[in-house]
Amino acid sequence: MTPGVAGSERVAAPAARFDVERIRADFPILTRTVRGKPLVYLDNAATTQKPRAVLDALAGYYTSINANVHRGVHELSERATRAFDEARERVARFFNAAHAHEIVFTRNATESINLVAHSFARPRLKPGDEVLITAMEHHSNIVPWQLACEATGASLRVAPIDDRGELMVDELERLLTPRTRILAVAHMSNALGTVNPVADLVRIAHAQGVPVLLDGSQAAYHLPVDVQALDCDFYAATGHKLYGPTGVGVLYGRTEHLEAMPPFLGGGDMISAVTFEKSTWNVLPYKFEAGTPNIAGAVGLHAALDYLEGVGRAAVQEHERQLLEYGTELLSTMPGVRIIGTARWKSSILSFVMDGVHPHDIGTVVDLEGVAIRTGHHCAQPVMERFGVPATARASLAMYNTREELDALGRALERVREVFGA
């Protein structure tokens, strides 16, 4: 892997020619204007836009097959159940899970991580035990573990990152002790763009008998993910960053873990029999899906994954790599601009600060130029502390972005400089 390039554990097969304009035409929202200017959407790490195929799938589901799943014997219920099952099989193929029952539908990656912290980690944690995370985690991969530690008397250990924003793997290895009960790591950092060597981390942790959860919220829409090749125990992802709808997330878990874990939420659908004395749990994956699930969301996610693989993962990856390189060059040649997160293996994230201008002011000025970026701590306050900044501005890329849009960001940043005399 060359420095500054998107890394991955498994490189997808080369795909057909990549035509960004044709792809843009598939995303209705990209034709709108914002504050009188064409929308330049560079906040993809927060959520991606949705292709028409996803919108059509949602509308199609509600217009022609809406019914509750696993309930009725009537035609619509059976069709809705089938659509829901097919979505799960699609997700399983997307992540190369060995079985569809290893895919649990959740609301988002946050819920996926909470499920593992609650049902897998808590029962195993005792006072003095340790949970190991890294200094680049999103709050969603910090707080569930803090809660689990507080409830059990275990302690949270944090593997450090270096000045480039790379995980210090040697340090992480040192922090794996006989008391470590789980390692939870971002596959890719949302604040820095760093892509972690997750297959290596899994190997290192497994050598000590430590199970591993990977937070794939950022990685899943940029990099091919093969949970069997990674050999991870759990993989968390969210639909709305995979060009799918909000409100549907994914947890991959190995069969033997999911079988052994108690339910997370109680309710309908997750039981096989209920009496007032005792209930028995449904089989996988339903044990973890209490209540009516986000059926439409799963159907929309199915369409999103079809779309993404139809475009071609390798082609998307290469396009995003070129954009990142272009954007990195653009920002690093602007006086007073400093990129935060310069890992050798990174993808699609340009976090930066500008001398003398607070990121929030950058965000507002570029917004008035029609450019949407994120400013703030990106739900990664410890990362901001590590780099000694209160916040950063962050431009994040997706398959439909163009060099022209990065040029528009560059011009908007010139405006920032004019206004603030930076």
């Binding site: 929030h360 002011d361 008035l368 916040a391 206004v419 603030f420």
Partner: protein, 147 residues
């Protein structure tokens, strides 16, 4: 373009570049820390109150142009005023920045320049952070947050 200069008026940019009373006060009788978790802005407001009069006021911290300029202008506005006057000014300022954008703006002198934040809902907290911190300091609360 006009929206840009409506928000970042020259007086705001000036107070951002050269904040007034931008220092701690060693013999402060009141102080409070304000925090806006959305953008990470933090500031500390120091007050010296003699009897009923705010005889000295200063602030420290880091923040965006709006929050820094607002803090700077606030210190100018309340210095020499009575506590009751400062609290009344808080109410008028708060009303000004939270009114619907189309509502008429009361003339609050330089402070009126911050009325532009009404067009930018997420920036209202930036403009009001210093004022909330002032109020907390007067109430002898150590910390306040815009959340």
């Amino acid at each position: 373009m006009s929206e840009l200069s409506d928000l970042y008026q020259e007086v705001i940019l000036d107070h951002n570049r050269r904040p007034r009373n931008f220092h701690a006060i060693a013999d402060a009788s009141h102080r409070a820390e304000g925090y806006n978790p959305l953008c990470g802005d933090r500031l500390t407001v120091y007050l010296k109150v003699d009897g009923d009069v705010i005889t000295n006021v200063g602030f420290e911290g880091s923040g965006c142009a709006i929050s820094k300029a607002s803090a700077s202008m606030m210190t100018d506005a309340v210095k020499g005023r009575s506590v009751a006057e400062a609290e009344a000014l808080f109410d008028r300022f708060h009303r000004m920045v939270t009114m619907p954008p189309e509502a008429a703006v009361e003339d609050l002198g330089k402070l009126t320049s911050l009325a532009g934040v009404r067009e930018f809902p997420v920036r209202i907290k930036c403009a009001s952070l210093a004022w909330h911190t002032l109020k907390a300091a007067l109430a002898h609360e150590q910390r306040t947050s815009t959340e």
